[in-house]
């Protein structure tokens, strides 16, 4: 199997925006899987936590030409720029080495017990993919959360107040898949043996997850689609989350462009 330079594996995601219906199942599945805290009042959207955030974007035209697209946004798991320049925006700034880029998987992790809550990573992330715990999470002292700890997944650490959390590409699922593979005397994981909760839950199958370094994986084929793009690609953050949209206005809204910078795309490869 031919592998690219850099990480051993490079897990990534491709989200087909043409298929996404905006149902929000990915958000719910993610929150339930990863013990994301819920407050009685979640109306303060600037402080609520959604590892998988769903944006609703439109083409800005009046009715009847209005077009809408739903834009799921997990953590982009940004990478080194590959030219020896800079690291992921958040990893390089963290004071206490509480967030790391795993060279074996390409996953950007967050070590909750080490995070001091300075929020520098949050300021550095242009995707707003990092969330701070403004309140105590599953605290038994709070009446509204009484008993909620029974719904927690034992595989994911609940977060304490005052630390940053973010999408981990359901890292515990990778651990689970690896344990199973080792038990079966395998070193490599099969395709789809490790997928994220949002990938599994998406009813429209808009999300595909796999190893971008493995040319046999569907994600590696999907990213060759002419309509594939990444969010804010110009900033050179090297995200591992790719999007597909046949609509030019959607692709255009994924980055900032000067008037002469927009490249038209025609046709679908796959």
């Amino acid at each position: 199997m031919e592998k690219r330079e850099g990480h051993d594996n490079k897990y990534g995601m491709v989200i087909d925006l043409d298929k996404c219906t905006g149902c929000g199942t990915c958000m719910v599945a993610c929150a339930a899987e990863n013990n994301v805290t819920v407050r009685a009042d979640e109306s303060d959207k600037e402080r609520s936590i959604a590892w998988m955030q769903l944006y609703k974007i439109d083409n800005g035209r009046p009715f009847p030409d209005t077009e809408v697209c739903y834009f799921p946004r997990p953590c982009m798991h940004c990478d080194e720029d590959g030219r020896g320049g800079h690291h992921s925006p958040c990893v390089s700034v963290c004071v206490a080495t509480a967030t790391e880029l795993d060279p074996h998987t390409g996953i950007v992790s967050q070590i909750y017990a080490r995070c001091i809550g300075c929020r520098y990573c949050q300021a550095a992330c242009p995707y707003h993919a990092r969330y701070f715990n403004w309140w105590d999470g599953y605290s038994s002292f709070k009446p509204f959360s009484k008993g909620m700890e029974r719904s927690l997944s034992p595989e994911v650490s609940p977060r304490m107040r005052g630390v940053i959390e973010k999408c981990t590409f359901c890292h515990h699922r990778l651990m689970r898949a690896k344990t199973k593979a080792y038990a079966e005397n395998r070193r490599d994981l099969r395709e789809y043996e490790y997928i994220t909760a949002c990938t599994e839950a998406c009813p429209a199958r808009a999300i595909t997850f796999g190893d971008l370094n493995n040319p046999d994986h569907m994600v590696s084929r999907l990213i060759k689609n002419k309509n594939t793009f990444r969010l804010l690609e110009k900033l050179n953050t090297q995200p591992k989350v790719y999007y597909i949209s046949s609509k030019e206005w959607v692709r255009k809204l994924a980055d900032n462009y000067l008037p002469d910078q927009i490249k038209p795309v025609s046709g679908n490869d796959i």
């Binding site: 080495t97 001091i116 809204l253």
Partner: protein, 410 residues
């Protein structure tokens, strides 16, 4: 009542009058204390910070007071390393202001982090690539240096000086002060710089991102320069305010004039480099990110006026005022120029902290606004209260101004 503690040959107000003077500052401190407790007990939800405004009023205040406190290390550098002897008449003020600014900022930072008990992780699990680690190490070390510089001033108190050990300790510290001045200069250069570097390295935030030299973005050097340009002006302002309140002349004009002249020169240099940096940003960083300058100033109250004010109103004008001898020697003009210089640096820090976060990077993201809660204001104002209190106590009981007796014989 406390006459035994008041410096020899100087006149101070009565103890009850002094107590009344300290009341508002004690009140500010008390409000800050209550707010700090609320934040420590209930968490940072007591503030209006959010996942968008990860940094807010406290970081602006931190950056501002640290920059304004730069007068301490820079005056120390000019006095002990360059050998500008006339500045010995103002060095104590600079050191005390520096100590107030840095200790106040450290206190505020302690509340600003989500897990204050884990603060030591910065040193234990230090990520050497993070500019904030450099800031933390240098500020902590420099606060120790400032404490060492402050101790001999405290030991000069009339009563404490009678204790032989204190007298000898303070006296010997005075002799080796050049070493601490040099250490302080080294540490301060790096933390002032890395505070700027913190924002310049955020390459995914085009509003703050800057090119640079080696690992240091240009903001690294600009923050040093702006701090040493504004710091001495803040020292001048504090001195003039003390003179106004006490109705005494405390520092010879020669020292003030020299400090103002150096400040003016540095401010002019800073503004030239700031213009060059802004041009590089407009024609380099911004188009590379697919944006235009005015994209940043489209929404909310943060218009292009901020850039104009920063460079023009609070940059070029005070630089001209401070560099023109006749204007500099005019007391009112000097105070206005110093105020403008200090306002410019506060605006610069505000822009880098708040505006950077308010401007969305994703094209479909909206513009967010932020207003601090009373708890945030109370903690920020408590630093001012603390500053007034400590400075007043120092003025009352310590020989802060060496020329006070000579300038005010009675």
């Amino acid at each position: 009542m406390d006459s035994a503690l008041i410096p020899e040959g100087t006149k101070r107000c009565s103890a009850p009058a002094f107590f009344l003077w300290t009341l508002p500052w004690l009140l500010l401190l008390a409000c800050g204390g209550v707010s700090a407790l609320l934040c420590l007990i209930f968490g940072l939800n007591q503030t209006n910070m959010s996942n968008i405004f990860a940094f807010a009023l406290w970081i602006v205040a931190d950056l501002a007071v640290i920059a304004l406190g730069a007068g301490a290390f820079f005056t120390g550098f000019l006095t002990y390393i360059i050998g500008k002897k006339e500045l010995k008449d103002i060095i104590n003020v600079a050191v005390i202001i520096g100590f107030i600014c840095y200790s106040g900022a450290m206190g505020m930072l302690g509340i600003d982090i989500g897990q204050p008990v884990r603060g030591w992780f910065i040193f234990w699990h230090a990520n050497i690539h993070s500019m904030l680690v450099e800031v933390s190490f240098c500020i902590t070390c420099y606060l120790c240096v400032l404490t060492i510089e402050y101790i001999p001033i405290i030991f000069e108190n009339k009563k404490l000086n009678t204790v032989r050990e204190f007298h000898l300790f303070g006296h010997n510290l005075h002799h080796i002060m050049a070493i601490f001045a040099a250490t302080g200069t080294f540490l301060s250069f790096f933390h002032q710089g890395s505070l700027g570097g913190m924002f310049g390295v955020m390459y995914a935030r085009p509003f703050a991102a800057r090119y640079g030299f080696y690992i240091w973005p240009w903001t690294f050097f600009l923050f040093i320069l702006s701090a040493i340009a504004a710091g001495p002006c803040f020292t001048i302002l504090c001195t003039k305010l003390t003179e106004k309140i006490t109705r005494k002349k405390l520092v010879p004009d020669k020292a003030i004039d020299l400090l103002a002249k150096i400040s003016g020169f540095l401010l002019a240099l800073y503004i030239i480099l700031k213009i060059a940096d802004t041009a590089g940003w407009i024609y380099g960083v911004i188009p590379q990110a697919g944006q235009r300058l005015m994209d940043f100033y489209r929404e909310g109250p943060y218009g292009i006026w901020m850039l104009i004010c920063e460079i023009g109103l609070f940059g070029i004008i005070p630089a001209i005022l401070l560099l023109t001898p006749s204007l500099r020697k005019n007391r009112l003009c000097l105070i206005i120029a110093s105020l403008m210089n200090c306002a410019g640096i506060v605006l610069n820090r505000f822009v880098f902290v708040i505006v950077t976060l308010a401007i969305p990077v994703m094209p479909f993201e909206r513009f967010w606004s932020y207003l601090p809660t009373w708890q945030e204001w109370a903690i920020a104002l408590a630093v001012i209260g603390y500053g007034f209190l400590l400075f007043s106590l120092s003025y009352r009981y310590l020989p802060v101004f060496p020329k006070e007796r000579e300038l005010n014989p009675y």
